[in-house]
């Protein structure tokens, strides 16, 4: 359609009332905003950009990524829950902190009620790194040092209540040491913190990979079930004697009350996206694999995760009073 024809059609349509049903039918008619609650440039940000890019081809409208970092990845979804219209033009990545933080403190959202869950996408590979020049060669070095100097070992996490924070506290509890968490907003910031030796350790998802490959950072452990094929020499949590696996799977959701038809359209588009070889290749750069769950399974999963998190939080003594 030429520019001129489009204008004519628009003029003709002016003044006509468009019904709600037709809106769901035509959806999407304008660019969609995808809130990524992490600073730009981390593993979540880049993987979500790749997924969004592929999904936008299916939807026929651009998806603009909006980085709203803070609060361990809850500021973005909380903002969406508070103010966005459930018209499908605002959606957000939902990190696990959205379920976990309400168990730890007063928050402005209710994970069970305030979101329309759309589709579950993938999970992370987490790891603990230290600067290549650091005295710590292995995780045992860290434990030994921490035993002698309680609270002196600092680690950069992507925020209070994130899996990295909770996981590190669990490890510290089992190892019988005290570590000090410094909450940053996400991977790009924790990379800089450990590179500049402002913190001794970094606990974050695979955003550290190019720096580890370049020999600037040393990877001490990974939190996956099996060793990473990219780093066959790096032990897992289990091998180090901490029987845990953390992958913090995540998906996307919109504000509560979205039209099921719109949810279905988004679901289909994002499902295609994580099947796209180009996206799988980008995810693989960060040691991530697609982990698809449809809308219904995702909803069930949210309930399960909330329950299992409740137990962990209670044992750590982090539960809200």
């Amino acid at each position: 359609m030429s520019q001129r024809n489009r204008l004519m059609v628009l003029l003709a349509a002016t003044g006509m009332l468009v019904s709600v049903a037709a809106q769901a039918q035509d959806y999407p008619t304008k660019p969609i905003t995808l809130i990524v609650p992490w600073p730009a440039g981390g593993s979540t940000d880049i993987s979500m950009r790749a997924i969004a890019e592929s999904a936008s081809k299916v939807l026929g409208q651009p998806i603009a990524v909006d980085n709203k970092a803070g609060g361990g990845g809850t500021v973005g979804p909380a903002t969406m829950a508070a103010g966005a219209k459930p018209d499908g033009y605002t959606i957000a990545q939902i990190p696990i902190t959205v379920f976990r933080l309400p168990l730890m403190q007063e928050v402005s959202w209710d994970p069970a009620k305030d979101f329309s869950y759309i589709v579950h996408l993938t999970g992370y590979t987490f790891g603990v790194t230290t600067n290549a020049e650091s005295q710590f060669k292995t995780w045992q070095d860290v434990v030994d040092f921490a035993k002698k100097n309680p609270g002196k070992v600092t680690y950069a996490s992507p925020g209070t209540g994130t899996s990295l924070h909770v996981g590190m506290e669990q490890i510290a509890l089992m190892a019988g040491v005290k570590l000090t968490q410094v909450p940053f907003k996400g991977g790009a910031e924790t990379n800089a913190a450990v590179l500049g030796q402002h913190t001794m350790l970094q606990a974050d998802s695979t955003g550290w990979r190019p720096l580890v490959d370049a020999g600037k950072l040393r990877l001490l452990m990974v939190w996956t079930g099996a060793r990473s094929p990219n780093y066959p020499d790096v032990p897992t949590l289990k091998e180090l004697g901490y029987p845990m696996i953390y992958d913090s799977p995540f998906g996307i959701a919109g504000p509560k009350g979205m039209d099921p038809k719109i949810v279905a359209k988004l679901h289909d588009a994002f499902k295609k996206a994580i099947e796209d070889p180009a996206v799988i290749a980008t995810l693989a750069k960060y040691d991530m694999v697609p982990n698809y769950k449809n809308t219904e399974d995702y909803k069930k999963f949210v309930v399960e995760v909330t329950e299992s998190e409740r137990k962990v939080i209670d044992t750590l003594g982090l539960a809200k009073k």
Binding site: R6, T14, L17, V18, K30
Partner: protein, 161 residues
Amino acid sequence: MTDQTNVKLRLNNSELWGGLIGLGLGLFVIWSGLKLKLGTINDPGSGYVLFYTGILMCAFAVSITIAAVTEGGPTFASRWQNMRWGKPVLVIVCLAAFAFALEPLGFLLSAIPLMLLLLRVIDPVRWSLAVPLSILAPLGMWWVLKHLLAIQLPSGMFEIG
């Protein structure tokens, strides 16, 4: 503004009121900070910085107020002397009306009357210029945004625009 009349402890001293408003805001910020919890110095809470900023605000506001009392300051009247104070008020009223109309009426239906009002009420522009300008400017901007930059301005309940 050489003809400013300076007054000391008088209620129409504008400096005094500026200081007092600042003090009030400062106290409010301190109170908000306390309510949000200060935390400890090892782990400062959400209200930590607000609390101390509030204290600084009060300090600066008090120094402004003291200066206003001891050195005096210009009166409100002198600050608006020789000024058509009614004009900015009119602009503000137009903008406020526009702000309330924007969401329900949409951009085009609210911006065109706003432009017409501003062009005719403050320093009247001749009708033959005011009318086309107030229609073409918003319409042109709307078209460029919608078709070149894919930005949708609010269309309101009549779905115009």
